[in-house]
Amino acid sequence: DAVTTIYERSVTGRRAFAAPPLDVPERPLDELIPAHLRRTTPAALPEVSEPEIVRHYNRLSKRNFDLDTGFYPLGSCTMKHNPKLHERVAGLPGNARLHPLQDPQRAQGALELMWNLQQSLGEIAGLPHVSLQPSAGSHGELAGLLLTRAYHEDRGGPRRTKVLTPDTAHGTNPATVTMAGYDVVKVGTNPDGGVDVDDLRSKADEQVACLMLTNPNTLGVFDANIEEIASIVHGVGATLYYDGANLNAIMGITRPGDMGFDIVHFNLHKSFTQPHGGGGPGAGPIAVSERIEPYLPKPQVVKREDGAFDLDEDRSKSIGKLRGFQGNYGVFVRSYAYIRSLGSEGLREASEVAVLNANYLLALLRREGVAEYLPAAFDRICMHEFVLSGAPMKRDLGLRTLDLAKRLLDHGVHPPTVYFPLLVDEALLLEPTETETKETLDHFAAVIAEILREAKADPEIARNAPYTTPVRRLDEAGAAKNPVIRQPL
């Protein structure tokens, strides 16, 4: 079946749109908008009827793998089940057709939902003040560093120019630091996979604005030295920032606020489940401590004394706005439904089973026939995800991590995150999540073992995989060298 784009299906004169009737005088456009401000050639949008659009995108959809079809253990992405209730409640007209500038008096349900969600997130984080505004985790990170900047500027003192990040950090962390106008300073990792405390101590000085940390980190390791780390960071007057991408491991078990963090971001689309949409939307709310609160973005959702909810724009020390309106409300609805569905016990159970599933899968992969090729990067109990190294597999079987990933595609499984964290050679980062069954984990482990067995006999099979997918390995280098990023029309 040849791949055609919607533009290639276009035939002059076809249409899906019927305009509502012109029920007002047909004034010449020249009277309304001067000709020199107007367009002369229409945009070459496709000309297609409704059935063709439906077929085109329906067929395209079948060229995607999705979570509702199979296992998707993409580490650090928390691909947990997306409850179907969430689309129903997000689609209620009272939510879906609510204008963001509606008078707060006539948006009380939405504001109450946001306020309730703020309270819940604050309780989960152990930090009382929440802004829902950021649009994604990385946006939350940026908010966190701008809050840090505002905090330091408000306090006065010498200018701070550096932000510390461990070398295990998500790629978003250093990128965010740069966007916030700081310099990245890397901190090393100790043999247990935690922060190298001595290295941290040596780098923590009065020029440091913040330490950004993920705990458990991207190695799946909970840093047991967190209290000491917090004390070092606070000792130099810096803030401690919690990257919440891995919150799914600890909900109801421990709290960033209790560990000493000042600012936390949540990935609502991870821990609090959102359909990932092929790369969004999501939301990255932040929770902060008392001392950071004055700088939170505006507007803030507040509860007035009479019980009414409102939007507070009157925040003199606020960093301002990070985007339009109040944030990704549609995302809030889904995550709020999730929190209410699971409740206190259910959230803890989610984290417990997430960690149980990860450790069980790790145990299965520690068995003979696998562990000698794909050893765990850290030989200990993991949190909700864990890292394997494909280095022995590469050495002994000539199979790169990428080859293993591609061969998994032929087995109908989405590969784990590959080549991250950077610290581990030929890394594979696996996060099964709590919504997968034991049978699925057993099957996955069996597939890995099978691929390795196959590779021992003939490594070429995996090296040339995949075979059963709509396309096979693609020329990415060529695409980057001569970018064709739109259709010539």
Binding site: I53, Y72, A96
Partner: protein, 463 residues
């Protein structure tokens, strides 16, 4: 046991045995005892699905949505009709539930959608390079500012006061981070004051930021403003409403370097402000400075056509601190809705929609301007939104209309103290002539009533 997890007691026992520990608690041994939460989270207990539904339905019922009133509220998001075929496509699990297409072989659907989307945005804006979407409109303006910073490193950014207040605020917030200052160029007669712009320009200006149509609904003469900026080598960033681009000159033909905008009006719901998407297009020279994801066409080992994420050396997961943005999760699903919407409108439909809006808006503008106590705030050309001045307290007038099931529009005083008597009225294709007539009649009555009410007690009504 939660209904989303599957670990039965028997499963748990078997799994713990395989791990070699005797309790789930043992898996959390790394967490220092002092940090363990010694109580349940102070959250309500979980609820059955039907209860959660009922609770959220009750909350939603306490909002007055565009389904419940005749709404003329715009100011950045619009109650456009979302055709049903969009739902039927974006709710397919194959589009709804995957993540970023890290494995292109099993993500061709999503990648091709990005490619088609980029093509549509490039067509709309008249600029050759589009990314696969950013968060939303105002933060797209902020991201464009960052690109300008990366491009020329100059310290000043000039933003027209006609740019959406949220965009200006966002730009200012972000620029404070990456080290630029934002200054405002005032409006004159409803459009950006060219003289003031020229006066403010200098060789230290990194970018000039415009909006088309601007916040007051006016169609700006972008080409003229751009020409002024170019004289100083400043980049021009224009935030565009995409629907009027069906009839307005595309920014790419006006010398604009970076066109961004809010995509909500393209097939996305209002959703109380999000999620929607922002589009981001630029001239060729900025291709390697673009933020976010970009899909490109290529071939596979068998020579078959395919698509991949490309130019990834810009991105955070490769380049880390040298990345052109930190965007990781963006708005792929919303951009999908956008490209479906544009395909639904089609080549002619986008023009027809623009013309319909322009004519209905002209009708509404005339109708309102003819009312006693209502005058035009400016006479610049408009497409889908216009501003009037009321000879009465705007908030009270708006409140009166709300009581009649009409949302009269946006009170300009919320952001523009100089237009405290201003009301910004938006027309969408869902507002018929009859709706406009209803607004006009109600507004006429309300203004009259509030003028009377404002007259000191004992005095007669004017006229």
């Amino acid at each position: 046991m939660s209904t989303y997890t599957s670990a039965t007691d028997a499963d748990r026992r078997a799994m713990l045995d395989a791990i070699g520990v005797d309790s789930i608690d043992a898996l959390f041994a790394d967490i220092p005892a002092a940090l363990r939460l010694d109580r349940p989270l102070a959250l309500p207990a979980g609820m059955a699905e039907q209860e959660v539904y009922a609770h959220l339905r009750d909350l939603a019922a306490r909002n007055v949505s565009a389904e419940d009133e005749v709404s003329f509220l715009g100011a950045g998001m619009y109650d456009s009709y979302v055709p049903a075929l969009i739902d039927s496509i974006i709710l397919r699990s194959e589009f709804l539930t995957p993540y970023t297409p890290y494995q292109p072989e099993i993500s061709q659907g999503g990648l091709q959608v990005m490619f088609e989307y980029q093509t549509a945005i490039s067509e709309l804006t008249g600029l050759p390079v589009s990314n696969a979407s950013v968060y939303e409109g105002p933060s797209a303006v902020g991201a464009a500012g960052y690109l300008a910073k990366l491009a020329n490193g100059r310290p000043r950014v000039l933003a027209s006061r006609g740019v959406h207040p949220h965009s200006r605020a966002t730009l200012t917030t972000l620029a404070h981070g990456y080290g630029q200052t934002v200054e405002e160029v005032p409006l004159k007669d409803g459009v950006t004051d060219l003289d003031a712009l020229v006066a403010a320009l200098g060789d230290d200006v990194s970018a000039v930021v415009l909006q088309q149509p601007n916040f007051l609904g006016s169609v700006e003469d972008v080409a003229k403003l751009t020409a002024a900026a170019k004289e100083h080598g400043a980049l021009v960033i224009c935030a565009c409403d995409p629907v009027p681009l069906g009839i307005l000159q595309p920014p790419g033909e006006q010398g604009v370097d970076i066109a961004v905008g809010e995509g909500q009006t393209l097939g996305n719901r209002l959703d109380f402000g999000g999620p929607s998407f922002g589009f981001f297009a630029a001239s060729q020279e900025h291709i390697r400075r673009m933020p976010g994801r970009i899909a490109g066409e290529t071939t596979d080992v068998d020579g078959r056509r395919g698509f991949v994420l490309t130019l990834q050396t810009r991105e955070q997961h490769i380049r880390r601190e040298k990345a052109t943005s930190n965007i990781c999760t963006a708005q792929a699903l919303n951009a999908l809705a956008g490209v479906i919407y544009l395909s639904w409108l089609g080549r002619d439909g986008l023009v027809e929609l623009g013309e319909l809006l322009a004519r209905r808006t002209a009708y509404a503008r005339d109708r309102l301007a003819a009312l006693d106590g209502v005058t035009l705030l400016h006479e610049a050309p408009v497409v889908r939104e216009f501003a009037v001045r009321l000879d009465a307290d705007v908030a009270r007038v708006v409140e009166r209309l709300a009581g009649e099931g009409i949302n009269a529009g946006y009170r300009l005083g919320r952001d523009y103290p100089e237009f405290d008597d201003g009301l910004l009225v938006a027309i969408t294709e869902q507002r018929s002539r009859a709706d406009i007539d209803r607004l006009a009649e109600a507004l006429g009555r309300a203004v009259a009533a509030e003028r009377t009410a404002a007259v000191p007690a004992g005095a007669g009504a004017s006229s």
